[in-house]
């Protein structure tokens, strides 16, 4: 789960990390009020869960109430990379002497937490990593030994910084590391960590992504995981327990397994356009596939559905019953192609066929999608 910037800043502040004065606004009037308390100029930051928000126009500076009204109004009626802006964070604008980078994540390959720092923070940090690797330093944390502050001091000395910054920054690293443990973070990041004219540090942005699998054991206040999903179809997917990603095509997809789903999308995309990605996970039941059919068809103008499932851990014959029931109850007329192999495959085919589903018995998804393409072609209006 990714937290919004304002949620992450609140957590960082509780842990003692210096953060800017700020307030969250959902209307232009709220923004005006907050800016009045902070004093101009202020920064307006769209609270949307995408990277590269600044370059996409989601961050503005307002120097006066009039300018703020215009900018806040504009942001609150805009979309950033397809996401509507519902909230904006109004922040004090500080004088920036230098922008640093601090990130803590899990290095998947070595299976250890890693702390990454750079003296060249800001939006182009990944460019810095490529073009000036000497300005980046990182340290892996041994999972049984754990983190200690001296590790940060040693890391920062490698960047050739003055001791005053090392001391202050090392404190921020220790605090962020504690957050990353308590909140089971996959990513905890401050970019930029600003050096103020007085030499102090300020975290002017905050990223915190929590391990979904660990949420139930984090005994700390957390925002609701479902409410935050902007897209109603994706939220519905979460509710019924499947991964649903909304796309802009017209071919519905139900698959078991993320890899199989991705491969299906890749093949569909060769000459059609997927309407969604849907991955059931290992918990298929008749009811689940009934709901999946409903979810896929919530989107208007779906021209066909492709079902691609394997009976390994999943009882696909049960799933088939749900699909068949949905088709009958809702009198689904668009073509449905299914590839369903594995344990109890013949039984599954039987159920699907009797509901009018086009069952493909070859193994290759390519073949099934060829069949789908024929049907969609025939069916084209």
């Amino acid at each position: 789960m990714r937290l919004h910037e304002h949620e992450a800043l609140d957590i960082f502040e509780q842990m003692g990390i210096p953060v800017p004065r700020r307030g969250l606004a959902t209307t232009m009037h709220e923004a005006l009020h907050i800016a009045g308390e902070i004093g101009y100029p202020v920064i307006l930051k769209a609270q949307v869960l995408v990277g590269g928000r600044g370059l996409a126009g989601g961050i503005k500076v307002a120097h006066s109430p009039d300018e703020l009204k215009e900018l806040a109004e504009g942001l609150l009626t805009s979309e950033i990379k397809g996401l509507p802006v519902r909230k904006i964070l109004v922040c004090e604008k500080v004088e920036i002497q230098k922008e640093l980078y601090l990130g803590i994540t899990i290095d998947g390959y070595s299976g250890r937490p890693v702390i990454v720092v750079s003296t060249e923070g800001g939006v182009l940090i990944e460019e810095t990593a490529k073009n000036a690797p000497e300005k980046i330093a990182s340290i892996h944390i041994d999972p049984s030994f754990g983190y200690y502050p001296y590790k940060s001091r040693s890391l920062l000395r490698r960047l050739g910084l003055e001791q005053k910054i090392i001391s202050a920054w090392s404190d921020v690293i220790s605090q962020l590391y504690t957050i990353s443990i308590r909140y089971e973070a996959l990513i905890a990041e401050i970019n930029p960590l600003v050096v103020l004219p007085n030499g102090g540090l300020l975290a002017v942005d905050a990223v915190l992504e929590i391990d979904d699998s660990a949420i139930s054991r984090i005994h700390l206040p957390l925002p609701d995981r479902f409410e935050r999903m902007e897209n109603p179809l994706e939220r519905r997917g979460r509710e019924i327990g499947v991964t649903y990603v909304d796309l802009d095509g017209d071919i519905g997809l139900i698959s078991s397994g993320a890899g199989l789903g991705m491969a299906s999308m890749d093949i569909i995309a060769k000459n059609m356009r997927p309407a969604n990605f849907l991955e059931t996970g290992g918990g298929i039941t008749a009811d689940l596939l009934y709901r999946c059919m409903d979810l896929v068809l919530m989107k208007p103008n779906i021209r066909a559905i492709f079902i691609n499932v394997y009976g390994g851990i999943n009882p696909i014959h049960e799933g088939a019953k749900g699909v068949a029931r949905y088709i009958k109850e809702h009198k689904v007329k668009i073509p449905i192609v299914a590839k369903a192999l594995g344990n109890r495959q013949e039984e599954t085919w039987e159920i699907l066929r009797s509901a009018g589903v086009h069952v493909v018995t070859e193994t290759a998804t390519e073949k099934a999608i060829e069949r789908l393409y024929e049907l969609v072609g025939t069916n084209r209006e």
């Binding site: 998947g108 990944e126 990513i187 979904d212 054991r217 851990i313």
Partner: protein
């Protein structure tokens, strides 16, 4: 011999009394796997599918000589049970469950490596050696014996590739699900090494996915050490990106983890990159792999 599973493999099923554990025990037995024991704390003394259930791994090992374990334990209890299993001397562990907290996986990974245990998963369909046995949830009908190894990040795509090969009479030596989590218990390169050393394997197919850096790192291993032909398919070219936040991962990797970057790294290592799963069949036939 074959990779990981052979005639001496005596399988313990952890969480055998659960819904999935008991069903999968049935399928594993039906496939000829030597399932010798199950463990569910508190359910010792009962039987599932004729297999005796014990309260602890220690007892199960002592009573049955189990030397490999497959997990169907609820995610929250996997870490504890895993450490118990390592301490009991089991040297091969397959962790099927998904949704295990990544910090638990980190602990499991380090403990297993430190103790010389070969563990795969989590979120894996397991291991299947056609005609010899299986540990996990792979549906047996799609596999047939032969000399191609498959290593897959995705469970269902591993079935797809095996099925595509089987349809053209290309059999498999062993199919291994490496697991799909951000941290896995053994990396792709470690598993490739087993296939490189295996006398029953003549070539290997890697079934990868967008994200992470398993395939890029494996490319390095292949360039340096693999003598057998390798093909690779990377799923997720069409997957929507752009919602990524945070740069730390990309900075460490120095790679974007995109399908293109992975394909390029693999190609540079001499791997044949497959554009679609169905091309696996031609590749195997071209290399005369049966």
């Amino acid at each position: 011999m074959s990779v990981l599973i052979d005639d001496s493999t005596r399988v313990l099923v952890q969480g055998i009394t659960g819904r999935i554990g008991s069903v999968q025990t049935h399928w594993m037995l039906e496939y000829g796997t030597k399932v010798v024991a199950g463990v569910t704390p508190g359910k010792g003394g009962t039987e599932v599918e004729g297999v005796p259930v014990f309260n602890s791994v220690e007892e199960a090992v002592k009573e049955t000589g189990a030397n490999a374990s497959v997990f169907f334990v609820p995610a929250a209890f996997v870490l504890d049970a895993f450490l118990e299993t390592v301490d009991a001397g089991i040297k091969l562990i397959v962790v099927v469950p998904e949704h295990i907290p990544v910090r638990d996986v980190i602990k499991m990974r380090h403990y297993a490596i430190e103790k010389g245990v070969f563990a795969i998963g989590p979120t894996t369909p397991g291991i299947l050696s056609p005609g010899k046995g299986k540990m996990g949830i792979m549906p047996a009908s799609l596999f047939r014996p032969g000399r191609v190894g498959i290593i897959s990040r995705s469970g269902t795509l591993s079935y797809e590739f095996a099925g595509i090969l089987s349809e053209v009479n290309v059999g498999q030596s062993t199919v291994v699900g490496m697991g799909a989590d951000p941290v896995i218990l053994r990396n792709l390169a470690d598993i490739l090494e087993l296939f490189e050393r295996d006398n029953d394997t003549d070539g290997v197919i890697i079934v990868g996915e967008v994200g992470g850096e398993q395939e890029e790192k494996a490319a390095g291993f292949i360039a340096r050490r693999m003598t057998k032909p390798v093909a690779a398919y990377i799923a997720g070219r069409y997957s929507p990106q752009g919602k990524r936040m945070g740069h730390a991962g990309a900075i460490i990797r120095g790679s974007a983890g995109t399908v293109e970057a992975k394909q390029e790294a693999l190609r540079a290592a001499g791997v044949e990159v497959l554009d679609s799963p169905i091309h696996a069949a031609q590749w195997a036939i071209k290399h005369k792999l049966r």
